[in-house]
């Protein structure tokens, strides 16, 4: 995409407004700007890479077709991630991602994550830690992965995250805390397994 029209410096909302009027160049800048985040999120919640790519394509196609409906209540990136999420859920055949999260008590969950251990397993090397984290994240349920990606990788605000997931703010916070605890548990388990090998 050339910068002949000075579009690359435009903020996202203006680009969406231009796209809504049929400006394909403006839309292409949005695609380049956000495709990495949308694809990572799609990989997080879709069943496989092929579905994720389809979600990526349909997300931007839907965004193009529905650009005039962007109300500016959230950032454009969050808007795109919500479109991706809706598409991924449809692809997975689930209209509703809501899940009861009662079962495991916080202490049980914390204990799995190393709470109360005298000498918590620690992974010292940065590269090993990064791999352990990626493995741990991949091992979680899609509902845990999506909230961790939204809040801790994409760093979208709590309010926007709650909105994106169709949750109240307290419910989002509770789900986030449990997802983080499950991530720590998965890292802890990976470290333990590594040591035992």
């Amino acid at each position: 995409v050339s910068d002949e029209e000075g579009l690359t410096g435009e903020d996202d909302a203006r680009l969406v407004a231009r796209a809504a009027k049929g400006d394909a160049n403006a839309f292409e800048i949005l695609v380049v700007r956000h495709r990495a985040a949308v694809y990572r999120f799609a990989r997080t919640i879709a069943k496989n890479a092929s579905d994720a790519e389809e979600v990526l394509q349909e997300t931007f196609l839907s965004a193009w077709r529905g650009a005039a409906g962007f109300g500016g209540r959230s950032s454009v990136r969050t808007w795109l991630l919500v479109i991706a999420r809706n598409g991924a859920l449809r692809a997975r055949g689930r209209a509703d991602a809501r899940r009861e999260d009662g079962g495991e008590s916080l202490v049980e969950l914390g204990t799995r994550a190393g709470f109360g251990a005298q000498d918590p397993e620690r992974i010292a090397l940065a590269a090993e830690r990064r791999n352990a984290l990626a493995t741990a994240l991949a091992s979680l349920d899609p509902e845990d992965r999506e909230i961790l990606v939204l809040r801790d990788l994409e760093r979208i605000s709590g309010e926007e995250c709650a909105d994106a997931l169709g949750l109240s703010l307290p419910a989002m916070k509770s789900r986030l805390n449990r997802a983080r605890l499950r991530l720590v548990a998965a890292v802890h388990g990976a470290a333990g397994n590594g040591r035992r090998r």
Partner: protein, 102 residues
């Protein structure tokens, strides 16, 4: 807060499980000052919560920093995306918000 809870400690008027439930709020800074104060009292008195809170914060910090920026999709994925949009984009004047509902 009466009675005992196995494996837990009561400090700052909070049990360990209460603190476990608040760790993300502590990390994200979303707690009311009064609750934040009680959590700090608990952490100062409870070694296992203090240790675990450090570990929890470290893992989330590693997640944010270590896996921070998304990598661009593979070139062939980008190419197929561009082709898909070129082929199917059309005039683009729908109007309904695709993020609304699922």
């Amino acid at each position: 807060v009466n009675g005992e809870r196995p494996g837990e400690r009561l400090a700052g008027d909070l049990w360990c499980s209460d603190v476990l439930g608040l760790l993300s709020d502590v990390l994200d800074g979303g707690l009311a000052p009064e609750v934040q104060g009680r959590v700090q009292v608990h952490l100062a008195a409870c070694d296992q919560c203090s240790r675990f809170g450090d570990e929890f914060a470290r893992v989330i910090r590693d997640l944010r920093e270590g896996l921070g920026a998304a990598e661009e999709p593979e070139p062939e994925v980008e190419t197929r995306l561009a082709e898909h949009l070129t082929l199917r984009r059309g005039p683009g004047r729908g109007g309904a918000d695709p993020a609304a509902g699922s």
